[in-house]
Symmetry: C2
Subunit: 477 residues, 2 copies
Amino acid sequence: MDAAEFRQRGKEMVDTVADYLENIQKRPVFPSVQPGYIRELVPESAPETAESWEDLFGDIERVVMPGVTHWHHPQFHAYFPTANSYAALCADMLSDAIGCIGFSWASSPACTELEMVMMDWLGKMLDLPQEFLFCSGGKGGGVIQGTASEATLVALLAARNQTIHREKEANPALTEADIMARMVGYCSDQAHSSVERAGLLGAVKIVKLSSDRKQSLRGETLAQAVQKDKEKGLIPFFVCGTLGTTPSCAFDSIEELGAVCNLEKIWLHIDAAYAGSAFICPEFRYLLSGVQFADSFNFNPHKWLRVTFDCSAMWIKDSSKLVDAFNVDPLYLKHDNQGKVPDYRHWQIPLGRRFRSLKLWFVLRLHGIKGLQEYIRQHVKLAHEFEALVLADERFEIVAEVVLGLVCFRLKGANDINEQLLQRINQDGRIHLVPSKIGNTYFLRFAVCAPYAESKDVQFAWTVLTELATELLKEKK
Amino acid sequence: MDAAEFRQRGKEMVDTVADYLENIQKRPVFPSVQPGYIRELVPESAPETAESWEDLFGDIERVVMPGVTHWHHPQFHAYFPTANSYAALCADMLSDAIGCIGFSWASSPACTELEMVMMDWLGKMLDLPQEFLFCSGGKGGGVIQGTASEATLVALLAARNQTIHREKEANPALTEADIMARMVGYCSDQAHSSVERAGLLGAVKIVKLSSDRKQSLRGETLAQAVQKDKEKGLIPFFVCGTLGTTPSCAFDSIEELGAVCNLEKIWLHIDAAYAGSAFICPEFRYLLSGVQFADSFNFNPHKWLRVTFDCSAMWIKDSSKLVDAFNVDPLYLKHDNQGKVPDYRHWQIPLGRRFRSLKLWFVLRLHGIKGLQEYIRQHVKLAHEFEALVLADERFEIVAEVVLGLVCFRLKGANDINEQLLQRINQDGRIHLVPSKIGNTYFLRFAVCAPYAESKDVQFAWTVLTELATELLKEKK
């Protein structure tokens, strides 16, 4: 395809994209395909000679679309949202065309520089403490990671490195292995699976601590665990506090955890993957209270801030701790301005990186802070509308406080009836939900996800749900 | 921006992208900006209310472009290429619009299924052993990672896990820390910095072994190191062999390394990040000889196969070793078809993942195998053309055998004259190169990178180079 053909095909693709997103509600939200379906629809090998655009284009509907779970569908209420916007789509086209690899400042200065400024813009929108921002002139700053899981891993590895150095300084006879064997990190039993996984990857122990009745990890629980572990000779080194847990959108008490961490010199990382976007609204910022105690903070604009995946925003108070943790510096990556500006490759797991700050730039400018605040508030309002419907039906109960855009609910009674309800919902296919569990209580998660979510979608979901619940309960009698 | 506006702006962006790529040679390949330049051009905070498209659009040229290193510029000869094509740009638009997060099969079946088939297509194009392919029906298969650094890390972590299990089985009294402290991995002194970094991240020792006069790591060197380390009580567990090193595009002897690894039960990972694309041409496939010994193999279609970053193709013979290494499985990610199909989240570091196989699908179909082979051959031919120019000028010398699209050369004599030459080249600004070093020999790397690279670009680069070299040598006299 040459430039002339791209001018035609690219524009057709713009229309295809607009058609897809404008008419997405006409498609089934969840596909009915079975494992292996694509293999039967496509050849076994790549073609020897180039195929025509027409042949390829037709296969989008024939091969791809039947197997897509439509995350932007108004009846998609599973997981958490993944963000989308036309502004971000335009930015990605530009980013893809420039196609620079921003591993160092010199490899494309604009890529590093716009990211620094965008991370400051975003940090100010959340009212993060100055120490996290580049504009403070200190050691703090932000970086775009691919995912919250990577941010958690990066934070854990920086904490691991800091602790090894500190312990070795105190006792030079210790080996790295001796120290690591005694290191212990903590998170709540509600934390995302990626925290536990970061421990596996980083070869350090992560202990899940009990959350309270509101699924919140409290300072007292942490303090006791730290005390006990220290008595056993262990070295507490890392805490991942969660703001907006995946099972039920619960909030750890960062204020309390932070006090313990600061006293015990433990690295505090905050994972606000989903909830973080809401902190651009002042009325939700109380949930962020205590962030001043954190060493690193992360949330995903690609979840709820109109920025397409991947764009996970991470801030760190002392970036030298990231850079020192795994700095390797070959000649072919050196440049004249090293030391004056961040070389973001030291801030992340991969070497290469795309020009992702363009997405933030386009979205923040084309939506404005107010536009994004309205968007968040609309989703929260719809969640409360759904909550009210649940509360008004005495067959159902709410499982966790509705704070943002997630409603956790269930049929009163045993788990198995709820498992059956979920199965029927997803078999029915008009709406899509996933379940979760807190302790032994199985429940359904209703997440407000669609970019143009409206009251009628919430009402529709409730109609489907109650219709299926009524049927199920009738059969059970 | 609504759908109607996107239909307009998106199409304008298509033209902007085509204009950019068609006229890229009119821009300076390397920017002249200084650190901090963007901060002076943009406001300190995000706008309260939405801005107009026109204001944003104008800032692409005012703010972004002056700071871009243009990787697709015909005079860009730094690092290695990063791929681009109109086919991939179209695919990315679609991928971005669908915007599914393919962490499990159920989260969007098409995302997993097309990736499986594309990895088989690609594996067949390289003539990889059947065991690496899904279609073999065994435990092997491919996955798209973000970068080669992540593939190396994933392989190292799987190897680490396998070794810990094996050692614990043999001696249950051993702790994980005991075993890890004795584990040792190897790579050549020419391996990419990300191998050393993977060791730092994974908290295991990586030893760099001496390469031979052709910068190739040989079996004998490895065998001796393994023997010595075993005598010291260490546990050799991992080797990363490189096909196409970053400093000089050298090739480890995989055949020899593989024999040692198989004998000693050491995980062999092959990093062919740059060179791997060339193996679609039968005449270069001899370099891949020995791949049957490998446990995992990786190359970057996003470097040299017209697929935009990021798309790093990794195959593994026994995928259960990846999955077992760091499997965590919360309820909200479970689905009915688990076990029948891969859940790719277990194959990678992050949880979330984009629909990247669309890029492979578009590129392989719209270019065809032959079209891509011609592309590779054209770049190799141009490298040899440049090599011939260097050889014909007695002031210069070739530093390493030219096998693919990289030419390593220098002015005969001391390093400092070459350092000065490079400085002048990049100050002059007409072409862009980066240096490298083998042992104490500093040299310049000329990589053929541009998608439409032609003979005249090679000739132009040589004209600039010799002009600057002549000036420099005159001054030195």
